[in-house]
């Protein structure tokens, strides 16, 4: 069964460093998302991406964040200058359908620790 994959599974970085989190969505899906989950807290929406552009972003997704679909399979989240509070689990998700409100399929996540 197709699944969303994410790399790396864990990343440790120093405050101020740039990180790139990678995701490979399910191949025929059109909508892509990033979420984050701070330990013990709810899953928070960061950004959605459709037709090679950001469709919606939350207040969390400030200028330090960017997303890109560099080729036909990868979907990346870049954090330019990491802060301690960026430590969280980051989930990528994708969905097919026509509205972006259909079932989202989540990857296993990347656990980011900023020191």
């Amino acid at each position: 069964e197709p699944e969303v994959t994410q790399t790396p599974s864990h990343q440790v970085t120093q405050m101020g460093q740039e990180v790139i989190l990678r995701c490979v969505p399910i191949s025929n899906h059109l909508y892509f998302y990033w979420y984050r989950q701070i330990l013990g807290q709810k899953v928070e929406f960061l950004v959605s991406f459709y037709n090679n552009e950001i469709s919606e972003k939350s207040e969390i997704f400030d200028d330090q964040f960017s997303v890109e679909r560099p080729d036909g399979s990868n979907f990346t989240l870049k954090i330019r200058s990491t802060k301690l509070e960026d430590s969280a689990m980051y989930f990528c998700a994708s969905s097919e359908g026509t509205s972006g409100t259909e079932t989202q399929y989540f990857g296993p996540g990347t656990r980011l620790l900023v020191l």
Binding site: K42, F45, T101, T103, Q104, F106, P108, G109
Partner: protein
């Protein structure tokens, strides 16, 4: 309260018992979905119920939706230790004819003891 709030926050039951959790929301929705998250893992989609549906079943799961009360419930029947996880509801809202967004609640942590 926020869109998609689960209740209770935590639930502890014995194997074989039923587990019920609720989700309340504030704005009109296109659909509501329930997800499960095992500790430290990704979210797994369980069931989607559309705004024009009132009840849906999938195996041991039963979901109801009451749009007049803006609430949904997830019932897990005959629970097993493997059902131990956090359960989240996600409300899907259409923003335009072709685009919508999701919002997750804080989740209900369910512990099933043998």
């Amino acid at each position: 309260s926020q869109q998609g709030e689960e209740d209770p926050q935590a639930l502890s039951i014995q194997e074989g018992e039923n587990a019920t959790m609720n989700c309340s929301y504030k704005t009109s929705i296109n659909n509501l979905q329930w997800y499960r998250q095992n500790s430290g893992r990704g979210l797994v989609h369980l069931i989607l119920i559309r705004s024009n549906e009132r009840e849906k079943h999938s195996g041991r799961l039963r979901v109801t939706l009451d749009t007049s009360k803006k609430s949904s419930s997830l019932l897990i029947t005959a629970s097993r230790a493997a059902d131990t996880a956090s359960y989240f509801c996600a409300t899907a809202i259409l923003l335009t004819d072709s685009w919508g967004k999701f919002q997750f609640g804080a989740g209900t942590q369910v512990v099933v003891t043998p």
